[in-house]
């Protein structure tokens, strides 16, 4: 049973359900062996970005093995250690998505892709390029411009056991399929008393781009977050894009994978071996002591840029990419809050009813006692995204605002 060695930095803790978690940092550093059962035939590794299990003991040991160096300087380096193991291969984010999708399609004949221009055109963001030639027209399906019905068809197909990946050319277009996503996708497992699962993946780019205009700059995660029964994840690096894509396809639950229009060309070195990112887990981007900054998707990069400035000013921010928008990984987040006692949320959703608003409520409810200051949430303005470049810049959160916020929070 071969398990890939994933390197020193990534915390490879066997987070089993055994109560007595003897946390041996030495053991962690040198023995890569996992103790969880691996499916026969597949050798894969789970990237646990945060090794913390029970933090009541050994915070120092935990810090020692989290050798995520220079997280501030680099952008998407969630797995810096991968380069120290096998060479791996470099991919852009959209290529990473494609690779994940292709691997899953190879692995499971029930996986198919539906969307506008995904087939012969190769995908408007090239995520599905080459797949139609490889898998044929019945597995990579070009749909007419009819989101409501082809999303519904994907859900119907999922009810029988197929695993469709439905692409919205822009997440904003999925508003037309809201009924299907909310009522049929999210609720059918419940209203049928558990008879049907809907293993569908709905994915597409969203977020504020470069002067794309109001209708093409929407953040659908805030609209979908209340739908019961779905899971939502947001990818931000090529590594987690591929990992989350694969995990989403393998999940029995309907998963909405949010990509960002501006992140498709990020480059990163990915490991050659098979791996998956845990759908419900947050990613520790930069451990710190003074303040917890929670973010996701594109804002992660604004935060890291601000972190550079903050470090120079003497602050030590802990940056967590929450990745899982529904459900929140309150385990990782809570542990961080218990350590730093200050929280700043930086998101691209609008102020009203966004992911940040829900996250603020969740943290306040669960970790109120650990907070030394009220939670600060930086979100986009409650306006339609304007076309003019300068105005668009002011709509979203910029690094300078993040720096100011941290300074205020840590006063």
């Amino acid at each position: 049973m071969a398990t890939g060695f994933h390197g020193v930095g990534a915390a490879v803790a066997a987070l089993s359900s055994s109560p007595s978690n003897s946390f041996d940092s030495k053991k962690l550093l040198c023995s890569p062996r996992r103790s969880f059962p691996v499916r026969k035939g597949a050798s894969f590794v789970v990237d646990r970005s945060d090794g913390s299990v029970n933090l009541d003991n050994n915070p120092k040991a935990r810090r020692a093995q989290q050798l995520i160096v220079n997280a501030v300087a680099n952008k998407a380096d969630s797995s810096p250690a991968s380069s120290s193991s096998k060479p791996g291969h470099e991919l852009l984010l959209f290529e990473a998505l494609r690779e994940g999708l292709e691997e899953e399609m190879d692995r499971d004949p029930r996986v198919c892709v539906m969307g506008e221009d995904v087939g012969h055109y190769g995908g408007s963001y090239k995520v599905t390029r080459g797949l139609a030639e490889k898998f044929g027209d019945l597995r990579v399906l070009d749909t007419p411009i009819a989101e409501n019905s082809f999303t519904g068809m994907g859900i119907g197909a999922a009810m029988t056991g197929l695993r469709p990946v439905v692409e919205g050319m822009n997440m904003g277009f999925l508003l037309l399929a809201f009924n299907q996503i909310s009522n049929n996708c999210g609720m059918l497992h419940y209203t049928s008393g558990g008879q049907f699962t809907i293993p569908i993946v709905i994915r597409g780019p969203g977020g504020v781009g470069r002067q794309l205009g109001a209708e093409h700059s929407q953040r659908l995660e805030s609209y979908f977050q209340s739908i019961p029964g779905i899971q939502m994840v947001a990818c931000s690096t090529p590594y987690n894009a591929k990992g989350l894509m694969k995990a989403a396809i393998r999940s029995e639950n309907p998963v909405i994978l949010f990509e960002h229009v501006l992140l498709y060309n990020l480059k990163e070195r990915l490991p050659d071996e098979d791996y998956i990112c845990n759908l419900e887990e947050a990613e520790m981007v930069r451990p710190g002591e003074h303040v917890t900054i929670l973010t996701y998707s594109r804002m992660r990069y604004h935060v890291m840029q601000a972190a550079k400035t903050l470090v120079n000013k003497g602050y030590d921010p802990e940056v967590i990419d929450i990745r899982s928008l529904k459900p929140f990984d309150l385990h990782t987040i809570g542990n961080s809050v218990k350590k730093t006692h200050r929280v700043l949320i930086v998101e691209e959703c609008m102020r009203t009813g966004g992911i940040g608003a829900s996250l603020t409520a969740a943290i306040t409810e669960n970790f109120h006692d650990y907070l030394d200051a009220p939670i600060m949430c930086l979100s986009s303005q409650d306006v339609p995204t304007p076309y003019a470049g300068t105005l668009e810049e002011w709509t979203v959160v910029q690094p300078a605002q993040i720096v100011t916020a941290v300074e205020q929070l840590c006063k």
Binding site: F150, G156, M159, Q180
Partner: protein, 395 residues
């Protein structure tokens, strides 16, 4: 003795029924096992759009007719009982009754196998029963009890039966049609050689997603059959006020269509068999079932503000599906009036027993509130990549 049945015939409209083309007036075997073929003509010929209409002549047998009769009586009794239960406040919320339309459910079932999929709207109680659902499951679900087909969590509009490929049971008008085309897509993908019947009403026929789904199904050659159960009223609005073109079987344009008398179970069976054969070879086809519902749209609708009581009683007298089969059975001397009445009594008792049993059934446990939200009860637990082992408790 046969003549006395013929003599008791009602108006000339049913004259067609009483003229069997080849009757077997012989020693009468027990009706429920007799499979000697009987040939009957449907009440009216089929009207076709872009295809050749099937023949009016239908093959059936005593066993089938007996099954039709019994099944429709069960459905009728069940719906009427649901009416009383609703008025007694044991059923809450929305309750959409199917009485009058039973022929569509039984006729369709006779033409299909359990490998074929059926998906319908919220008027799903009888279709569920036709697919093999039990009366207890129906009443328990309507009353929100554990023994319900959806464990009491779905309600009247969310009946499902996965093992007989019955996909529900949907509350939003028209949303089931794209789902149905997705089922057909899966059947084609997996090379099932089976078809999907996606049922909707004349009200839903004006939904855009229907035409979107039909377009995609036609492009991809999916074995999808769209069945419009035209009961002439979309909630409280008559069809001529809602649709510029109420010829629903023609509205597929490029897709062929067939108009069927939905009150004649044999015509329904013939049309569905024809449609199944057609869809497997040529892609989607539309069936319009000309039918009628005696109740209002739902229990909160008296059903008489937008149509006259005379109209309702008129249809009941002239076109009632159960009466049609009864007359067929009697005219072919397959059973006696008394035997049929005995069946009705028996069914009544069966329904009453099921209701009593359902009333005894407990309400769901409080923990059921949180089960089945996610597969494997996710929510507050984080699973590893293989989705099998619980990694952490998140909250």
């Amino acid at each position: 003795m046969a003549l006395s049945h013929l003599a008791s015939s009602s108006p000339s409209r049913s004259a067609n029924l009483l003229k069997p083309l080849s009757s077997a007036i012989s020693l009468r075997r027990p009706i429920s096992t007799d499979t000697t073929p009987i040939t009957v003509e449907t009440s009216v010929p089929f009207t076709a759009h872009q295809c050749e209409a099937p023949s009016r002549t239908v093959q059936t047998n005593a066993k089938e007719l007996a099954t039709f009769f019994r099944d429709m009586v069960v459905m009728r009794r069940m719906e009427i009982a649901a009416d009383s239960l609703y008025k007694a406040k044991l059923i809450r919320g929305f309750c959409h009754l199917y009485d009058g339309q039973e022929a569509v459910a039984v006729g369709m079932e006779a033409a299909l196998t359990k490998k074929d999929c059926i998906i319908t709207s919220y008027r799903d109680h009888c279709t569920f029963v036709a697919r093999g659902g039990t009366l207890l499951e129906v009443f328990a679900e309507l009353m929100g009890r554990q023994a319900g087909c959806s464990k009491g969590k779905g309600g009247s509009m969310h009946f499902y039966k996965k093992d007989s490929n019955f996909y529900g049971g949907h509350g939003i008008v028209g949303a089931q049609v794209p789902l149905g085309c997705g089922l057909a897509f899966a059947q084609k993908y997996c090379k099932d050689e089976a078809v999907t019947f996606a049922l909707y009403g004349d009200g839903a026929a004006n939904q855009g997603q229907l035409f979107e789904a039909l377009n995609i199904s036609a492009l991809w050659d999916l074995p999808a059959i769209l069945v419009c159960e035209n009961n002439h009223y979309g909630m409280g609005t008559a069809e001529w006020r809602a649709a510029k073109s109420p010829a629903y079987y023609k509205r597929g344009d490029y897709a062929p269509g067939l108009k069927v008398d939905g009150m004649d179970a044999l015509a329904v069976k013939q049309a569905c068999a024809f449609a199944k054969e057609h869809a497997l070879k040529n892609g989607p086809i539309i069936l319009e079932m000309d039918t009628y519902r005696y109740h209002g749209h739902s229990m909160s609708d008296p059903g008489s503000t937008y149509r006259t009581r005379d109209e309702i009683t008129g249809v009941r007298q002239e076109r009632d599906p159960i009466e049609r089969i009864r007359k067929l059975i009697l005219s072919h001397d397959l059973s006696t009036d008394k035997e049929l009445k005995d069946i009705e009594k028996e069914v009544r008792k069966e329904v009453d027993d099921a209701i009593a049993q359902a009333k005894e059934n407990p309400v769901p446990e409080p923990s059921e509130l949180f089960s089945d939200v996610y597969a494997k009860g996710l929510g507050v637990e984080s699973f590893g990549a293989d989705r099998k082992e619980v990694r952490a408790t998140l909250a």
